[in-house]
Point group: C2
Chain length 148, copies 2
DNA sequence: TATTGTTATACTCTATAACTATA
DNA sequence: TATAGTTATAGAGTATAACAATA
């Protein structure tokens, strides 16, 4: 099969998209036996780190809309990884259970190894530059909001 | 609303995902009036650049699987942006039509402006580093394949 | 009036398996 | 046997609009 020219390769946005897809695929593989979606795993990690946070706060932190948080939280509770208690009539405080905490700890170990596999290809200065630059790029847009 | 701590912010993969989402949202906004999906637009651009390429070749170039190319090509043809002619019994040669070429040219102008909006936030050395590093990260994984 | 959680719904991208017809 | 295109289907993320209950 012939190899095509592809000027898109010169574009930052396109390169970001391609590379993110590869990173995500490896992330999924790394945690495949958890039988959890990436969004569920990251949600669990944020709750573990922020006991008694609300659903909206988690969504705000990781850019998932309120409406889309509902089934994520529901599955975490159903699995006994997260529990919630009522704060007031409309807010619920989220905490990880003991099982949830264990799972989060194991997830962190795997994620650290997954990250290392990629980052070790870069020299420290490059990695630092990339990690500095990504939030700057995000700030260039008005659309980094969780809800409009 | 309280601001949560989020250790995920230190992860390359997570930062990439967040930033890519912002870039993609701006890309979509930039080309909203085309009433085309991002995948359709990029497919059109690659065909414009590679007359008489095959569907599989385009998929290979932009990491879209054969099966998922089918409806994309179908829509481009239905809109009169792409035409195809039979090469042999199983292959089809793709070309942009006159309309498709015009649309591709306009898309390129908009994409250049979209890119500039983000890239101008970086100094040249940073941008160069990022563009060098992204393909290196991709090479760190076995999963940069279109099929297999 | 604004906020929290919720329901319902739609769209886009991605993935796999299996089929056809051709080479 | 391998390849090009196709069909069908499922999963994941994301988006909007509208609603109830509460602050």
């Amino acid at each position: 099969m012939a190899i095509l020219t592809n000027t898109l390769d010169n574009l930052l946005g396109y390169q970001m998209r391609r590379t993110t897809a590869v990173l995500m695929a490896d992330f999924v593989r790394t945690l495949a036996d958890f039988d959890m979606r990436p969004a569920e795993i990251t949600t669990l990690l944020v709750i573990a780190e922020n006991p008694d946070c609300s659903q909206s706060e988690v969504g705000e932190a990781i850019a998932i809309k309120r409406a889309n948080m509902v089934p994520i939280i529901a599955r975490l509770i159903e699995r006994g990884l997260v529990a919630r208690t009522r704060v007031d009539g409309r807010s619920l405080a989220l905490r990880v259970t003991e099982d949830g905490a264990k799972l989060a700890a194991e997830a962190w170990r795997r994620i650290a190894a997954h990250e290392a596999r990629f980052c070790e290809r870069l020299d420290p200065g490059e990695l630092r530059t990339v990690l500095e630059v990504l939030p700057v790029l995000r700030a260039a847009s008005a659309s980094d909001e969780t809800e409009g």
